[in-house]
Amino acid sequence: MTRPLETRLSPLSRLAGPIRRQWSPGHTTVAIVLAALAIGLLPFVHMGLVVNGVFLGAIIALGAVGLTLIYGILHFANFAHGDYMTMGAYVALFLTASFFPWLGVTSDGFGPFTFGFTLLIALPVAAIVVIAGAILLDRFVYRRLRDRGVSDLFMSMSSMGVAIALRGLVQMIWGGDIETYPRESKQVFHLPMDVRIPPDAIFIALMAVALVVTVYLVLTRTRIGKAMRATADNPELALVSGIGTRGVTWWTWGIGAALAATAGVLLAVFQGQLLPIMGWKFLIPVFSAVILGGIGNPYGALAAAFAIGVTSEVSTQWMNPSYKPAVAFAMMIAVLLIRPKGLFTMAGSGR
């Protein structure tokens, strides 16, 4: 620009009038109804199940936030997400059960936790391995498909292929038997109302909170995070604003994969075992949370994850625990019937 803009307003501008906020009853009403329902049911529910559900919800949240980001930005449902979790869990298993003992470092449980401190080192390493794997898979599978203009549906189908391949890889290396991290039994915390909290659950909750807060800060405070949200909102406008697709794609996979790897390790700790199928099975509550929260909306996925975690745990008070995934699915279907765009879709988002 050759001279600064004249910022004095023309008299015409007064005609436009001030900005007024629009109020939408949508999610406030939904939140109040849900809260009332939850409080009303509380006296009939075993508190221990609720607490357990919160911990389960924290793990679901880690998977769902990453999955919803990938959907929002790359526009396909990544069916391999659960197997990224499995990968993370097994890489951590290799480190804690084989690699560190080979180095002569062993630890069977430190502090109040059942797992050793080596798991704390293994966790970030597993995340890095899974991030690298996700970016390589994007480079050699998804990017090739994108460049050929393949539809989103085919992208999802190919991710299912990736899922099967990853699970096969895990089975090839570690076999199909149940594995566990090196561990020792520890005292369970007893709280009033017959609530028992395994100490590991506190670790799970802290990790989940720390990661979700980090992702929130990345998305709202950093340049790349805002660029990711901008690309999710409007890819063409992002391009003409000079936001390159490649950087955003890599960061999306990076964040999604790191969250998935952590969720995998935490799930293995929570369940006390590893199985090659663990991540694939965990996809059901994760996908339910993504859809319940409004596809592509990380805040919605977060809230929905806890709703699903608590509901499916509490359901075991009256139902056989093997119906837990069915409860998650039933919630998803019910919400899709009432609010097809998910519980937490904002009014006026322009979509």
Partner: protein
């Protein structure tokens, strides 16, 4: 030398050819308006220049450099900024974040530029944390233009900036566009109902079925009875 020189450009989507050899030029400091009936390829021409649609044949020269095969995110860097007709803001981002994204390529501290935009479009300053998706049509258009101005462009492409706006808003946005032009930015406008746009333009082009039909001074096009009857609604 012309600032932007589009010569014999052929482009389209998939297998469908929309532009069959369109040419136009814009000189430094000009306002140029393209008018034409619905579906004549006006928006496609804009997207082609901005790099969103591939050039099949012909050349697009901007400041003496051929940008016909440059990807859109690189074109923004050269000082050519595009405001699409619809979907021209990031709806879930706040007003301020939209402006920050407009400045994505800036390496310097651009806070002053945001402040300048708030003064230029005071509506945007009322509640900078507000989500762009909840803005009215006019405010959204202002934000879209402000976003494009964040990079200090030499040429700004506006695709139907007045479409769907209340009459008072049309004059307000038009006033701002003129002021942007006065500050030294060349403006390429596309309009369907283009009386106001033509009246302030140095030159205008009439585009029909993906081909040039007419080119003249803005005022001359307005006075042309045939143009008036066919493309300006009588």
């Amino acid at each position: 030398m012309a600032l932007l020189e589009v010569s014999a450009v052929v482009s389209g989507y998939g297998q469908t050819e929309i532009l069959h050899g369109v040419s136009l030029t814009i000189d430094d400091g000009e306002i140029v308006t393209i008018i034409g009936p619905n579906g004549c390829g006006k928006s496609t021409l804009m997207k082609t220049v901005a790099g969103l649609v591939n050039v099949w044949d012909g050349t697009v020269n901007f400041r003496g450099k051929d940008i016909s095969s440059t990807p859109p995110e690189q074109i923004a860097r050269t000082g050519l900024c595009f405001v699409p007709q619809t979907r021209n803001v990031f709806p879930t981002l706040s007003i301020r974040e939209n402006l920050e994204m407009g400045a994505f390529l800036r390496k310097d501290d651009f806070t002053w530029r945001i402040e300048e935009m708030y003064r230029f479009f005071p509506d945007l300053a009322l509640d900078p944390g507000r989500r762009a998706g909840s803005l009215s049509g006019g405010q959204r258009q202002m934000l879209a233009i402000a976003r494009a101005l964040m990079l200090d462009p030499t040429l700004i492409l506006l695709d139907e900036p007045f479409a769907g706006l209340a009459p008072a808003m049309v004059y307000l946005v038009l006033d701002r566009v003129l002021e942007i032009n006065r500050s030294g930015v060349s403006v390429l406008l596309v309009e369907q109902n283009a009386r106001q746009a033509l009246s302030v333009s140095n030159r205008g082009y009439v585009l029909v079925s993906g081909e040039n039909r007419l080119e003249d001074k803005g005022s001359a096009l307005l006075d042309n009875p045939e143009v008036s009857r066919l493309y300006l609604g009588g």
